[in-house]
């Protein structure tokens, strides 16, 4: 709830006269007004006292006058201040106080009691009214007399005109002291003379043909002062338009310019021993005077609340608002006032207002402070704002009335400044409109202007000029900021913008101010406008150059995923048609700086090289303007023109400014201006370059598609963001997996990297990406990464420089870098190369007298199979790929050794098995060797080696693994060999990637997938078919978020997966870093029929089945 709401709800009350603009000038009453009954504000003592703040000096004055009126000697009181300092108001206060002591109780009971003790004759002498103080050319006519002089009028008011009638002429001497004393003695009651505007009067006479009379008036005033001083019960209170100020430690009389010399003369003649000088309104009284004159009622409770509210924000932002002592109004020689004391005005409002009404020669201090504040408050009440405080910027320069009152003739140079930078007389925003938050810029600019425009020095940063903290205090207003969603930190942001966008706004040494000197920006902008009339190549060159610098964020060492500064080509307006984009196997980004680009032009760039067809048709992407020609020109060319013009002016600044200080000030301004416009041009370039074109396969042909991207921080990043948009494929990918690569090559080239039979060079694969428009834009590194992933999973091997990179006894061998000539081998080819190598290394080696028998075994699922036995089996390459290769070596020192034709066999139940058993001697061995087996029969059981025997038996009828042994004994030498027999089940488990009708009758055990969409579909199908199953789900989102569900109900699992899929869909970048694995295990195997197969067939998943052997 702000001030306006408080007033509307009656919590705070303003005087009704505030609403009447005609009464604004009544803020400057004449003393004579008290005698008229037209305006009760001044003539009615009750109304008058209600609006009067009794300053300490006025209170003392009333007391002293009351004392003087009872004293044996009279006294003179001189009210000194410049225009609007409260002199006339003080005289009116005295008039009403001594005329109606009862009403004075409104201000002070004590004072009213004291004043009531005397009942003086009050003589009101308003020298600006001939009716009250006549002069020879405008006499005052009564029924019996014509009064021509000031002294004549005084005598007349005292009822002693007869005594002075002979001197009531311009030609006669002024009455001397004794005569005046004599006149005073005519009246029995005390006499209070209230003399206003006497300086005007004397000045007026001097500047007319009544100059001699004017001189006599000065003499009269001298005599009058003497007479008053030596007469009991007389007090003279006179106002003088001058005041003493301390300048450089010395007290100096300051007069209003127009009355220079006159005010000091009057001050001299009226200054006697008993004369007292009074300053009616001290600087710290200004607050109370304003509050009293504008507001009828302000509850104290609200002052505390408002203060606490704003102080809370100040305390939260100490780096901006400083400390508590900064938040007060601290006038020179006055008491400090906090926001509570100044409420509803902000302390900075009082400070700024007081500063400029005091400093501006054309303004009348308190009087104009009241006039302006009346307008400000009235505007506030009429408007929509509901501020907590009345701020300096409420002195709104959009209001013609306020503007004219503030930007007066003596500061007329600032009218242009205000119009150019802040607001024109017609209310149109100036350069503040170019800031990102124009309203805030308007408030900052208004506050700074009001704070600084009355200082003569505009070249250097005076200490009185506001710093960031002072500006923040002048501008921040809680209710307004909250309503406009502004934050204190925005103040600094906008000031930074203003420095380059407001030609007259200046900054140095931490101080901000407005300078009226012709701004260099004006010259620049005029020049820029000329350049824009027929924008030449030079402007496009500026834009092209900026675009080159904007390809990547160099400071952040930004790199594109595919495109870089090296492969980006900026084509300027002038180069159009001349630039040919190379047809090479590498990606290229073409940046077109041109207002209007046709689809055909872009198509030609991407798919053609000059007139010929481009070979590497998938290498060129084009980014260009997505806005209309006019907007392109308006947005980009205007900034380019400004930059170009500013650079030209910068080089010839001497010609514009001869003064060194101003030149350096403007140089800084220009630097800020160039920087800001460069920044804006950069932003505009990014905002404009939003169309990205790329090649695409349509049917069997190549075409070009377009995508709109959003502005980011560099051209390459936003081009890549557009190409990564899911709607494009995405067209740019560097994060694809090996399986993606396999799928792509299978689909587009019909190359089967994993299960194929041919070798493919790395260079060929890379070229597919550069020539096939169906491929994404990518890098060789990305392809290489995917291929290395394939080696890790052993789906492929690589042969490079005669070396096989695949599996080995020691693990997997992975190359550090792929050469273009590296050959990619499907895993079967790799397995064969490895097999040949291992078999070559196998066999018996005679080392000295010993025999080393070397062989390789492949261990898989706890079973070891000799390589020789393995390679006769179907799909042995798969087993070699999956199993562990173990090198075995046996050393036989003497006698003989056993060698079986197979170390393991896989057979069906009851199948007949025959194994050759070879007994070989070491060196020479002539003893008989006896053979025996623990299962089956031998064709020969005893013989001298070397010899062969056939071991035959029938395989067991139950599926399972069996181990049988053969033993050879001769003397003390025993040799053993074992045979593993695997009796297979009539049914076997198989894994398939797709279900079809050939699987009818098979038992489905489980389904697994790594794709979130397929997982969701899979769970839905299982749920719909009402199959008894459990689901295991594992999902990782980036590095820190994961979800695991074991043995979940399928329906619930489906709900979770749905939610997660939604999240991934809305955050594509998160999706790239995510991993999904889900499986459904059937508690009872599901016998597949055609309907179930149809339901599961669309899934991309792995199915585990149990099928019967053929």
């Amino acid at each position: 709830m702000g001030i306006k709401s408080f007033i509307e709800s009656g919590i705070i009350e303003v005087w009704n006269d505030i609403y009447d603009s005609k009464l604004d000038d009544k803020a400057a009453p004449d003393l004579s007004d008290v005698l008229k009954k037209e305006d009760p504000t001044y003539s009615n003592p009750g109304e008058f006292f209600k609006r009067t703040y009794l300053t300490e000096s006025i209170e003392e004055l009333i007391e002293d006058v009351a004392d003087a009126l009872k004293s044996k000697s009279g006294r003179i009181f001189l009210l000194t201040s410049l225009f609007g300092g409260g002199k006339t108001h003080t005289l009116i206060t005295l008039y009403h106080a001594f005329n109606n002591p009862e009403k004075l109780k409104i201000l002070s009971d004590k004072l009213a009691a004291k004043v009531a003790e005397v009942k003086p004759l009050i003589i009101v002498m308003d020298a600006s009214r001939a009716s009250l103080v006549p002069h020879p050319d405008e006499p005052y006519k009564t029924e019996n007399f014509t009064i021509k002089t000031i002294w004549g009028m005084l005598a007349y008011r005292l009822g002693a005109y007869a005594k002075i009638k002979h001197l009531d002429s311009e030609k006669t001497p002024a009455p001397e002291t004794d005569l005046l004393k004599n006149i005073f003695s005519e009246t029995k009651e005390p006499v209070l003379i209230l003399l206003d505007e006497i300086v005007h009067y004397v000045f007026n006479m001097h500047k007319s043909k009544l100059r001699d009379y004017g001189e006599k008036v000065l003499l009269f005033l001298d005599y009058l002062a003497r007479a008053v001083e030596s007469t009991p019960n007389v007090a003279l209170v006179a106002s003088v338009q001058a005041e003493y100020r301390t300048v450089n430690g010395k007290k100096r009389l300051v007069e209003e310019d127009i009355f220079t010399g006159y005010a000091s003369k009057i001050l001299n003649v009226l200054s006697r021993e008993s004369t007292r000088l009074i300053t009616p309104v001290a600087p710290d009284d200004v607050i109370k005077v304003l509050q009293r004159r504008i507001f009828k009622k302000v509850p104290e409770e609200e002052t505390f609340k408002a203060r606490d509210k704003i102080y809370k924000i100040y305390r939260e932002n100490p780096e901006l608002f400083g400390v508590e002592s900064d938040w007060q109004f601290s006038p020179e020689n006055g008491r400090v006032a906090t926001a509570k004391d100044t409420y509803p005005f902000h302390p900075k409002y009082v400070e700024v207002l007081h500063e400029f009404v005091t400093r501006n020669k054309d303004l009348q201090k308190t009087r104009d402070a009241i006039r302006i504040t009346r307008k400000v408050v009235r505007r506030l009440l009429k408007g929509k704002e509901d501020s907590d405080f009345i701020m300096p910027w409420h002195i709104d320069l959009r209001d013609k009335d306020i503007r004219n009152r503030v930007l007066t003739d003596s500061r007329k140079e600032f009218r242009d400044v205000a119009s150019r930078d802040i607001v024109t007389e017609e209310g149109k925003l100036g350069s503040v409109a170019e800031c990102s938050k124009p309203n805030l810029a308007l408030r900052i600019a208004t506050s700074v202007l009001l704070k600084t425009y009355t200082y003569e020095t505009f070249k250097e940063p005076l200490k009185v000029f506001p710093d960031l903290k002072t500006i923040a205090l002048m501008v921040y207003e809680p209710e307004t900021f909250s309503k406009e969603d502004l934050h204190p930190s925005d103040i600094k942001t906008i000031i930074e913008e203003m420095l380059s966008r407001l030609p007259h706004f200046t900054f140095e040494n931490g101080r901000y101010w407005f300078t009226p000197y012709p701004s260099v920006i004006d010259y620049v902008e005029r020049k820029a406008e000329e350049k824009q009339i027929i924008p030449g190549l030079e402007l496009y060159n500026v834009i092209t150059k900026k675009a080159e610098g904007l390809l990547v964020r160099k400071k952040e060492k930004e790199r594109g995923e595919v495109f870089s500064e090296k492969n980006a080509i900026v084509v300027g307006y002038g180069e159009w048609g001349e630039v040919v984009i190379d047809d090479t196997p590498s990606p290229k980004l073409v940046v077109l700086i041109k207002p209007e680009v046709s689809e055909e032009e872009v198509r030609k760039l991407i798919l053609m090289k000059g007139e010929g067809r481009r070979t590497f048709r998938n290498t060129v992407a084009v980014i260009f303007s997505g806005v209309a020609k006019d907007i392109f020109k308006e947005n980009l060319l205007s900034y380019a023109a400004k930059i170009k013009a500013a650079e030209e002016v910068k080089g010839t600044l001497n010609e514009y400014y001869s003064d060194k200080e101003i030149r350096s000030l403007q140089e800084r301004k220009l630097k800020n201006y160039i920087q800001d416009n460069e920044k804006l041009l950069n932003q505009q370039l990014l905002a404009v370059l939003t169309e990205v074109a790329y090649p695409i396969r349509v049917g069997t042909g190549d075409d070009v598609r377009f995508v709109t991207t959003t502005p980011l921080s560099s051209i390459i990043s936003q081009a890549e963001a557009g190409l990564k948009d899911p709607s494009t494929g995405p067209k740019l990918r560097t994060d694809f997996s090996f399986s993606d690569l396999v799928d792509f090559l299978k689909r587009n080239q019909n190359w089967d990297l994993v299960n194929g039979e041919k070798r493919i060079e790395f260079r060929e694969i890379a070229n597919v990406f550069y020539t096939t428009t169906a491929a994404p834009f990518t890098t060789k590194e990305a392809i290489e990464r995917a291929l290395l992933e394939g080696i890790e999973s052993l789906d492929i091997g690589i042969e490079m420089d005669g070396e096989l990179y695949w599996k080995d006894v020691d693990g997997i061998k992975i190359p550090k870098k792929l050469k273009d000539t590296a050959e990619i081998l499907p895993y079967r080819l790799a397995a064969n190369i490895l097999k040949d190598k291992l078999l070559e290394e196998s066999g018996e080696r005679k080392v000295g007298k010993k025999v080393h028998i070397i062989w390789y075994e492949v261990e898989l699922a706890g079973r070891s199979v000799r390589l020789q036995d393995l390679i006769v089996q179907k799909d042995w390459e798969k087993v070699l790929k999956e199993g562990k290769i173990i090198r075995q070596e046996e050393v036989i020192e003497r006698g003989f050794f056993l060698k079986l034709s197979h170390s393991s066999v896989e057979v069906m139940p009851g199948e007949r098995v025959e194994i050759n058993v070879e007994v070989k001697p070491i060196e020479e061995y002539n003893e008989d060797v006896e053979l025996s087996v623990d299962y089956g029969n031998l064709s020969l059981t005893k013989e001298k080696p070397p010899f062969n025997a056939v071991w035959s038996f029938t395989a067991p009828s139950h599926p399972g693994d069996y181990t049988y042994a053969v033993e050879a004994i001769s003397n003390d030498i025993t040799a053993k060999a074992s045979l593993s027999v695997s009796v297979k089940s009539p049914e076997e488990e198989v894994k398939v990637d797709k279900l079809d009708l050939t699987h009818t009758g098979a038992k489905l055990l489980s389904i697994t997938t790594n794709d979130s969409t397929n997982l969701k579909m899979m769970l839905d199908v299982v749920s719909k078919l009402n199959l008894n199953a459990e689901a295991d789900v594992k999902m990782n989102f980036g590095n820190n978020i994961s979800f695991t569900g074991d043995k979940m109900n399928v329906k619930i699992a489906g709900l979770f997966v749905q939610k997660f899929t939604d999240i991934l869909r809305s955050l594509p970048s998160l999706a790239a870093q995510s991993y999904v694995n889900g499986s459904v295990k059937f508690i009872e195997p599901v016998i597949l029929d055609s309907s179930k197969i149809t339901a599961f067939a669309p899934l991309k998943a792995k199915f585990r089945l149990r099928v019967k052997h053929e």
Binding site: H487, D490, T493, E496, E556, P711, S1069
Partner: protein, 126 residues
Amino acid sequence: MKKEGGAEVAKPKTLILVEPISTERSKLAELLDTRGVGTSEQPKIRCAVDALHYMEYLSVVLSKKKFDIKVKELQASYPDRANEALSMAKIMAKVLPGGDVEKSLCVRISESFIFDMESKRKQNGD
């Protein structure tokens, strides 16, 4: 998450999601403290949401220039989380309904990176 009152044997059943309820600096700081992120120069950023809330706080406290610098520091220290947070801010600045506290904060964040003069002019009704 806030622990619910009641007997120790009873498990808390209420999840209270913490999100900005005001754009006031103090309230945003309170949120960061509640999440254990803190408002110091070295915040504890454990995920993109932490980074987003920290950026929301900075967008209110710092001028645009300083905010840009600070976000770049965050990007250097926590590239994934900071970039994810910026993406979230960009999306939320667009999709959240007008008047939503977080929308205005996200708009402040995204404005620092993209300055679209056209939209500004339209906003100002020029």
